[in-house]
Every structure is written in structure tokens, then in C-alpha cells.
């Protein structure tokens, strides 16, 4: 059979139920195979939309996302989602078409060095040189993307090879002598960690996206509750621990809560699970958590001691390690009252520094209230995707995620335009869960072509644009750190009429401007059929607080 037909068989064998993509010359054979392969293909309007949709699908379901693009410009358009998936450890397999093998390296039409340009931002990549290798490459790609620390894998297929006849043997085995991720944590290290925890007087748990990737939320909750530890999480870890729980101290980092950041600053022992001590978490590295010892649990050995030296490193899968750590800790039967003073302090911060904001005196919608209203209108149970900017941080702060895989955003790369396509993937992966986008009026314009995809696929996604008429986060930095010199951030008079834009795409559009009716209006919108674009007018110049100024230690938080 043709190599591309074998590719379809491999996708089915991998349990792929949907792929995202857009065809072109160099992957015509692949699209010919899609014609009657019986695999759902979602046609996006830009390859970046396809890549982010595959990410959204993967983040919402925990399964591997799949995206197809053609050579040259198709591949260059995929660079952003590939990098995004790398930064946030998202399992996605990207398939790109490539020019004929006899044209390789000659600057042929639509030739780009796809392997070369993506080399620094893939977990792995494979260029097909013998069509007979394609099935094995596909299975290896899925295996690598989804195991260990997940990430993007690229498979580049020259068009002539994709048409070639091959002998397809189902169930082809993989051969990866250099790839054996450690999943079992070392027993001795886990015991030592339990002992350190039992002796800690000011411990705190610091959970990251790795806990969600490892499906280790239950284990995290069990350990945290049993030990009565305060717990915080990164932007990527939100939902790993329920936000309405009394032990939750709020998000960590640049726009996290004071309780979380001060908690890390004064802790004597920090348990980092599936988190990587990013600069948005540590602030000034030399002054980060000066009193703490670190237990660092991560499946990627290279993360351990990369930024902050670990005292007790534990390489392994968070689910495996956290459950065994609880077992060892329980066996020590530590005295819970040793944490009383610590809790008094932590609760003092929580009481003194809640995420407050000044309400408007008129009907104006405050951006923070917009997010709280969305929580009310959705019962806190929606899958929420976002773009990048102030609206993203307010959503992270105020929505209150009850469980993992409900909060889908671009953390590491901070990619504007991520929200809408990611929601497409999430809604396709979770057809029975309401999916909303909290979009920025700037960001949404980077992938608004995907409204067509929503309509075509009849996806009931509700897109709420937090419309402040600004590239708000940049305006905030210019206000605070560049002496109010607002340079190229005003969008007010030149954004489209969002209601008309929605209608032009054949979907419904609504504008909301009054806080009094906001929750009711949002509930009504949530009950509408099909996709809806909602233009929510909010306070224009509101700042996202609190904030650790870039490069400063946590105790210098402002706002």
C-alpha cells in the first residue's frame, strides 16, 4: 500500500480520533489518504491554529494531539505551536510535508529546512528517508510525545516517499535505545524526603504542570491533606489542587498571591512537584526562598538543579513518587501540631492580602469582576482557555479551578492568539463540557480566522473578549516601569465591530457593558446554541496586581 495509507493505519492503531490541519502541495498524498480513511480531520484556517488546537485537545484530554501541515510556509506557520508545546510539555505529533527528495537542499518551491529550524524546540524529530520506515517513525513519534516528559515530535515526509509503495506490517515495534525515561522514584530518596517533611516546621507544596501531565492530582491532594501542608501551584499547575480548599494559598509567581509568594519566601522546606523554577516563579534567583531546602520531584532529570539546587532530588513520575511519599510520611506519624505556628502565619497572609480590587462606582465592568461573573455563570465547571496578557492573569487569579485540565493556557511561551484554537481542540476532545475562551482584544486578532472553524464544526464555544482597548499587559508595564509612555498599545478605535464580525462568520455576537446584569447575561449566553462571540467592555486602564516586579524577590511584591 502507499506509505500514506499505512500512515492512516498507524494513526488508527494509535487510537487517534481527530487530527487538525491544512493541506498543500507537499502533503497532497496524505490528504488523498484522508479522503476515505475514516479519521476525523478538522480543517483549520491557519496552521498555527491547527497546532494550538492539537495542543488544546491534548491538554484537555491527556491524549496525544495531532496536526498536519504542508512544507515551506505550512511548516514555518507551525513553528509557534511547536515551540509552545515544547515550553509547556504538551504531547503533540506534527506531520509536515516536504519537497521531493531530489529537490532537497536546492531551494525548491516551498522548501524550508523544517528539521533544522525546529531542532531547538522539539522533543524529537524524524525525517523520513526510506518510506518503509514511516510506520515505525509514527509509532516512535507517539511514544516519545506521550511518555516521560511529554512534548512535541515532528515527522517530516518528502512528498515522493509518501506516495511510495511499502509493505505495511501492523504493530511494528519501536527501537529507541537512547530513550528510557525513569518513572519510579528512588526509594531511598523518597524516604529521606518523608523524613525531611516530618521535620519541617514551615513546609509548603509547590505544584506545577507536571502533576497534571502525570494525572497525579489525587495523589497530590492526598499527601497535602494528610500532612496539612499549605499548597500553591504555578500558572500551569492550576486545578491540580482545588482552589476552594482551605489549604490552597493561591497561585504562585509574578501575579500570584502574597500568601503563596511569602509562603515560599519564609518556608524551611519546599516540595516542588512537576515544576521547573521558572523566572516568573523565582523572581530574583539569588534571593529566592532563602530559608528553604528543596525536595524536587520531576520526571526530567535535567530540570533538577537547573535553576535552584535541589537538596533531595527525586527523578520519577509525580504519581508514583507522591503516592509513595505519602506512604513513607504516614509511617513516620509526624506530630501535626508542629505546623500550628506556620498556619497561623500563612492564614494571616491569606486574611490580610486577599485578591481584592476596587469596584466601579457606576455600571462599568471591572475585569476582575468579569472573571468572577464567568465563574458564577458557568458554575466554575467550564474548561477555560485564554490568550496572553492581563486577562490571562486575572482568569488565573479569579476563576478558581476545581480540577485538572480545566485551565488551558500558554504559560511558557506566552503565545497571543492561543485561546481560540486551543478551545477548538478542547471542545472536540470534551464535547460534553462547556468550553469558554477568555480572550484579549489584542490576542484574539492573532487567530480570529479560526471562528470559521468553530462555525464549520458547530462547536458551541463561547468566546468572551475582555475588551480594554489596549495591549493591556504591555500598557501596564509602560505605565509602571516606563514612565507612562504608552508606545503602540492603543487598540481602541481600530478593532473590528465584534458583533458584526461574529455575524459575518455566521455566529452570534453579543456586547456586554453593564455589571448589574453581567452574570445573568453570561448565563443566558452559556445557554445559547453554537459558538457565540461576546464583546465585554471593561475598565480600560486597570492593572493586574499583586505583582513581583521582574527580577526582584517575592517579598518586594507591589499592588
Amino acid at each position: 500500500m502507499r506509505a500514506v495509507d499505512a500512515l492512516m493505519e498507524c494513526l488508527k492503531a494509535e487510537g487517534v480520533e481527530v487530527v487538525f490541519g491544512l493541506p498543500g502541495g507537499a502533503n497532497l498524498p496524505t490528504y488523498d489518504a484522508f479522503y476515505d480513511a475514516g479519521i476525523r480531520h478538522v480543517l483549520v484556517r491557519h496552521e498555527a491554529g491547527g497546532g494550538h488546537a492539537a495542543e488544546g485537545y491534548a491538554k484537555a484530554t491527556g491524549r496525544v494531539g495531532v496536526c498536519f501541515g504542508t512544507s515551506g510556509p505550512g511548516a514555518t506557520n507551525l513553528v509557534t505551536p511547536i515551540c509552545d508545546a515544547m515550553m509547556d510539555s504538551v504531547p503533540v505529533v506534527f506531520f509536515t510535508g516536504q519537497v521531493r527528495t531530489d529537490l532537497l537542499g536546492t531551494d525548491g518551491f516551498q522548501e524550508a529546512d523544517t528539521m533544522g529550524m525546529t531542532l531547538p524546540m522539539v522533543k524529537h524529530s524524524i525525517m523520513i528517508q526510506d518510506p518503509q520506515d514511516l510506520p515505525r517513525a509514527v509509532h516512535e513519534a507517539f511514544h516519545i510525545a506521550s511518555t516521560g516528559r511529554p512534548g512535541p515530535v515532528l515527522v517530516d515526509i518528502p512528498v515522493d516517499l509518501s506516495k511510495a509503495d511499502i509493505e505495511y506490517i501492523p504493530g511494528g515495534e519501536i527501537n529507541l535505545p537512547g530513550y528510557q525515561p525513569t518513572t519510579e522514584g528512588n526509594q531511598r530518596q523518597i524516604r529521606l524526603a518523608a523524613k525531611a517533611l516530618a521535620h519541617a516546621k514551615r513546609p509548603i507544596i509547590y505544584a506545577g504542570g507536571g502533576v497534571i501531565n502525570a494525572e497525579a492530582s489525587a495523589e497530590l491532594i492526598a499527601l497535602t491533606r494528610y500532612g496539612n501542608f499549605p499548597i500553591t501551584a504555578t500558572l500551569m499547575g492550576l486545578g491540580a489542587y482545588p482552589a476552594d480548599d482551605p489549604q490552597w494559598v493561591g497561585m504562585l509567581g509574578m501575579h500570584g498571591t502574597r500568601a503563596a509568594n511569602y509562603g515560599m519566601d519564609e518556608a524551611d522546606l519546599i516540595v516542588a512537584a512537576g515544576a521547573r523554577f521558572d523566572d516568573r516563579i523565582t523572581g530574583k534567583l539569588d534571593e529566592f526562598a532563602p530559608n528553604a531546602k528543596f525536595i524536587h520531584i520531576d520526571i526530567d532529570p535535567a530540570e533538577i538543579s537547573k535553576n535552584v539546587p535541589a537538596h533531595i532530588p527525586i527523578v520519577g513520575d509525580a504519581k508514583n513518587v507522591l503516592s509513595r511519599l505519602l506512604g513513607e510520611y504516614r509511617a513516620l506519624d509526624p506530630d501535626a501540631s508542629r505546623l500550628d505556628d506556620w498556619w497561623e502565619k500563612v492564614n494571616g497572609w491569606k486574611d490580610k492580602y486577599p485578591l481584592a480590587y476596587e469596584d466601579s462606582e457606576d455600571s462599568e465592568i471591572k475585569p476582575q469582576f468579569m472573571i468572577q461573573a464567568l465563574h458564577e455563570a458557568t458554575g466554575g465547571n467550564a474548561i477555560v482557555t485564554s490568550d496572553v496578557g492581563q486577562h490571562q492573569m486575572w482568569t488565573a487569579q479569579h476563576y478558581g479551578f476545581p480540577e485538572p485540565r480545566r485551565w488551558i493556557n500558554s504559560g511558557g511561551l506566552g503565545t497571543m492568539g492561543f485561546g481560540l484554537p486551543a478551545a477548538i481542540g478542547a471542545q472536540i476532545g470534551c464535547p460534553d463540557t462547556p468550553v469558554i475562551v477568555v480572550a484579549g482584544d489584542g490576542s484574539i486578532q492573532m487567530n480570529s480566522q479560526e471562528f470559521a472553524t468553530c462555525v464549520q464544526e458547530k462547536l458551541p464555544i463561547k468566546v468572551f473578549i475582555m475588551n480594554n482597548g489596549y495591549l493591556g499587559m504591555v500598557r501596564q508595564w509602560q505605565e509602571l516601569f516606563w514612565d507612562h509612555r504608552y508606545s503602540q498599545v492603543d487598540l481602541q478605535d481600530h478593532s473590528p465591530d465584534w458583533v458584526k464580525l461574529a455575524e459575518a462568520y455566521g455566529m452570534q455576537g453579543v456586547q456586554l457593558t453593564k455589571k448589574e446584569s453581567l452574570i445573568g447575561d453570561m448565563k443566558r449566553i452559556m445557554d445559547m446554541d453554537g459558538p457565540v462571540l461576546v464583546d465585554v467592555r471593561v475598565t480600560r486602564e486597570e492593572n493586574t496586581y499583586p505583582m513581583i516586579p521582574s527580577g526582584e524577590p517575592a517579598r518586594n511584591m507591589v499592588g
Binding site: 528539521m115 533544522g116 531542532l119 531547538p120 522533543k123 524529537h124 524529530s125 525525517m127 528517508q129 516519545i144 529507541l176 535505545p177 537512547g178 530513550y179 531511598r188 524516604r191 529521606l192 518523608a194 523524613k195 525531611a196 516530618a198 521535620h199 519541617a200 524551611d268 522546606l269 531546602k293 528543596f294 526530567d300 532529570p301 535535567a302 533538577i304 538543579s305 537547573k306 539546587p309 535541589a310 537538596h311 533531595i312 532530588p313 513513607e328 509511617a331 513516620l332 506519624d333 509526624p334
Partner: protein
């Protein structure tokens, strides 16, 4: 430190983080990789991206046609070597990495020196070449080419001795290394 599950006393003060330190010496890493296209760019790209400086790099086949060996030296005063090796291990095509301890391995490099030795100086040059167990592999009216194998240090010493005679150009292969005794590299 005891690993018994009992609550014998442990002070958090006793916990130390030992990684991330700089050793201060030159490290010879031998990296066994799958012989696949692009592997060298992956390794080289990783070094560039993470800001690691390579002193020397040599690549060649091994006894197994599916595998190649990359030998590189880098300065442990500048880089935390454990971070370097951990990042290298993340490359799927990297099978094995050894950070060879000095004394535990035999290291060699090949160098060729083109020297503009005049006829009157040749005897002296040849004497130096002999002391360093080098070979004269080419001779013309104006120049001679000398081949030297040895450790970095030996080649550096030869360089120092021969330079005053008039060095025209020089080429070095970069070090390769193999572990002593029965241990596999």
C-alpha cells in the same frame, strides 16, 4: 544518612545540595550516538543554545556501524558538567555519555604543523620532532609538515618549541579518548 523509616532525628540543616558545582578542570565527554542524520547538529545546537562552549570536538565511527562516537572536551570551570550531560541525555539519539576521569582514559589528538624551516635549521627541527616522536610527512624547498600525536599537553609543548622556527599553519583533530582496562567507554 540513615535510610530507616524511623523518626531518628534529622535536622534540615544537614541537607546539602551538591549539584550545579563547577569542577574547574577540563572534562572529556564521550558520547555514543545513533548514526542518524542530524545527530551532530542536535548535539552542537544544544551546546550553542545553552551557552556551553566546546573546546574540541571529534566525531567518528565505532565498531558498530549503527553507532558513532562524539568526543568533546569542555571547561568544567565555566560549565556545570552535570547540567551538560543531563541535557545531552535528553536527546533521543544519544545512547550513552561518559565523563572520563583523568587517568582513567587514554586520550590522543593528531596535529599537523607546517613549518617554514630553512635548510640551515632543519637539523634542529628534526631533533625536536624526534624527541616528540613526530614524523615528517612532507618536505619542500621552503616548508616541512610534521605529524604529532599525543595528549593536548604534548601537542601544546611541541607547538611552543617549534613556533620560533616559523609556523606557517597548523591543523588539529580534537581529542579522542577511550577508557583504560576492561571498562567500556
Amino acid at each position: 544518612m540513615s535510610d530507616s523509616p524511623t523518626t531518628d532525628p534529622l535536622s534540615l540543616e544537614d541537607l546539602h545540595a551538591s549539584v550545579g558545582t563547577r569542577t574547574g578542570r577540563t572534562h572529556v565527554l564521550t558520547i555514543l550516538v545513533e548514526n542518524k542524520p542530524g545527530v551532530l547538529s542536535r548535539v552542537a545546537g544544544l551546546f550553542a543554545r545553552r551557552g556551553f562552549n566546546i573546546d574540541t570536538l571529534a566525531v567518528g565511527p565505532t565498531d558498530d556501524p549503527d553507532l558513532s562516537r562524539i568526543t568533546l572536551t569542555l571547561d568544567g570551570a565555566l560549565h556545570p558538567i552535570d547540567q551538560v550531560t543531563k541535557q545531552l541525555h535528553k536527546l533521543i539519539n544519544v545512547i550513552k555519555i561518559r565523563d572520563l576521569e583523568p587517568g582513567e582514559a587514554v586520550q590522543r589528538e593528531l596535529a599537523m604543523f607546517k613549518i617554514s624551516a630553512e635548510a640551515t635549521q632543519r637539523a634542529e627541527v628534526m631533533q625536536i620532532v624526534q624527541i616528540f616522536r613526530g614524523k615528517i610527512v612532507d618536505l619542500s624547498h621552503l616548508t616541512m609538515i610534521v605529524e604529532i600525536t599525543g595528549t593536548n599537553d604534548k601537542i601544546a609543548a611541541f607547538d611552543e618549541m617549534i613556533r620560533p622556527f616559523g609556523l606557517v599553519e597548523m591543523a588539529r583533530t580534537g581529542e579522542i579518548a577511550i577508557s583504560r582496562g576492561r571498562a567500556e567507554t
